[in-house]
């Protein structure tokens, strides 16, 4: 009586949680790297910090909404079970979300912050004491958030990988795959945000993002590949499970839409964008529509990876 218990809400949550982890990780990196006492990539640092809290907050709502008893979600936070990936993940998620909101606060422009506080009704005027400048917290928050962004990025994969009953999932490669996919989607979202900005494009910052994304996609590719090779050489149950993407119902989605359109195509577009820089020139090609397509494809690929794993994994089983 095998049923699909985790559906699209969980797929969306895994994607959104990963997206926030990626956004924060890249933003924190950009905050940490400094030139002459200033963040080396200020726009990336700021955009990442401003964007990071929202996907994870939305994802957490979806997660709670998916529960049979959503109002009991607090029970996740009155115990800690180190053997349960979901318990570890819930705590990671809680701390990470808190840090992303603090970082958001730290990066919020002063006038916007004042304006937000001026909207408060009189009854809540006492809250105005929180209208403080925490600019100096930017780097400490970035540093504190690093391990948590990695933790949240990887835990979504551990959640699936730690289930020995589902041979499609039961390898630690799933965790690594989800982590680098998360970082890649976060970077892609920042490429989109930077490209969408009407201000003059900062090629140096865009180059940094392309470099990161090329690294992330390449690593992800070299995790997916061993996952397949490893699986084919593993025990029968894993070989059988892999048939779901090697001839089974998820084959087309995996190979055409994830591997080709969501992983390799954006990699080639980004490599092309970077080509002039690779040949010792200071600039990059910047074809805005093409860059946006590449970033969009990375996001699509990240979503499909989670879709394929959540669904295919649940129907894989030991015979």
């Amino acid at each position: 009586m095998q049923t699909i218990e985790w559906g699209f809400l969980i797929v969306n949550y895994l994607f959104l949680g990963g997206l926030s982890a990626g956004l924060f990780f890249v933003s924190a990196l950009a905050t940490y790297l400094q030139e002459n006492g200033e963040p080396a990539y200020p726009r990336i640092a700021k955009y990442g910090a401003m964007m990071a809290p929202w996907p994870v907050a939305l994802g957490s709502f979806l997660l709670i909404f998916d529960l049979g008893n959503w109002y009991r979600f607090y029970k996740l936070f009155i115990v800690f079970k180190w053997q349960s990936p979901m318990s570890i993940g819930s705590w990671l998620l809680l701390v990470f979300t808190g840090i992303t909101f603090l970082a958001f606060w730290a990066w919020l422009p002063e006038e916007t912050r004042h304006r937000l506080f001026s909207l408060l009704p009189k009854r809540l005027a006492f809250l105005k004491r929180f209208d403080v400048n925490i600019d100096a917290w930017k780097r400490p928050l970035a540093m504190a958030g690093f391990p948590f962004s990695i933790g949240v990025g990887i835990y979504t994969g551990v959640l699936l990988g730690a289930v020995q009953a589902r041979p499609f999932w039961n390898t630690n490669l799933v965790a690594q795959m989800f982590l680098f996919s998360a970082f890649s989607t976060g970077t892609a979202a920042l490429i989109l945000a930077l490209s969408a900005n009407k201000k003059e494009l900062d090629f140096r910052q865009l180059r940094f993002l392309y470099t990161l994304d090329i690294c992330f996609i390449t690593i992800e590719f070299f995790i997916v590949l061993p996952y397949l090779i490893h699986g084919k050489l593993s025990v029968l149950a894993v070989q059988e499970a892999l048939k779901l993407i090697l001839g089974g119902p998820y084959t087309l989605t995996f190979w055409l839409f994830f591997m080709l359109a969501g992983l390799l195509l954006p990699l080639f577009i980004e490599l092309w964008e970077m080509a002039p820089a690779l040949f010792q020139k200071a600039t990059i090609h910047h074809n805005k529509p093409l860059a946006s397509v590449a970033a969009g494809l990375v996001l699509l690929g990240g979503y499909l990876l989670r879709y394929i794993f959540v669904y295919a994994g649940q129907i894989s089983a030991f015979k």
Partner: protein, 184 residues
């Protein structure tokens, strides 16, 4: 008086005796108020060959009350838990309905109760066992497929059977240590 002796409740099944009457399924549903469309135990049927050379096997299945249950391990709130005598249970009040345990069970022995928003499963009729009784499925089985007992007691029927007969357990490779023994 509380019985302090260590116990380990198991089921021994002689599938060859099963006639697929499903009395165990019905008895379980009646005893435990299992909702329509959900099952705590079921019979897996396998038929091979064509008339007149054919065979059919019937395997009663349910929660294996594993030695090392992955459902208990993955539960984030501790709602899924195991008694000292090996019975794996769900505490409804602590279950948030995340269904991680259902996904982690290699035997697909758990089901979701939409009406309560919690996961439910075979309790090995703990309410009867605690009063010295036996599970409803065992009591009702007309062909005596099912034998219930304490593996820690060397004189129990289950211990005797497992000492004298060959048996197998299902999907031992998942490492859960299932405690339903199928006689060969």
């Amino acid at each position: 008086m509380a019985d302090t002796k260590k116990k380990r409740y198991v089921l021994v099944l002689d599938s060859k005796k099963c006639i697929n009457c499903k009395a165990c399924v019905v008895a379980c549903k009646a005893e435990n108020g299992v909702p329509v469309g959900k099952f705590r135990d079921w019979i897996t049927e396998e038929r091979r060959g064509t008339w007149p050379r054919l065979m059919a096997t019937f395997d009663p299945e349910q929660c294996m009350h594993c030695e090392n249950p992955s459902c208990v391990r993955v539960c984030p709130t501790g709602a899924s838990w195991q008694r000292k005598d090996g019975i794996v249970l769900v505490n409804y009040d602590d279950c948030i309905g995340c269904r991680y345990c259902m996904i982690a069970c290699p035997y697909n022995a758990r089901y979701f109760r939409e009406d309560l928003g919690v996961v439910d499963k075979c309790t090995l009729c703990a309410h009867r066992v605690d009063k010295g009784g036996i599970p409803a499925c065992v009591e009702t089985c007309p062909s005596k497929v099912r034998v219930f007992g304490d593996l820690e007691d060397p004189s129990s029927d289950v211990s005797q059977l497992l000492n004298t007969r060959r048996y197998l357990v299902k999907k031992p490779e998942t490492g859960n240590g299932p405690q339903l023994y199928y006689l060969l």
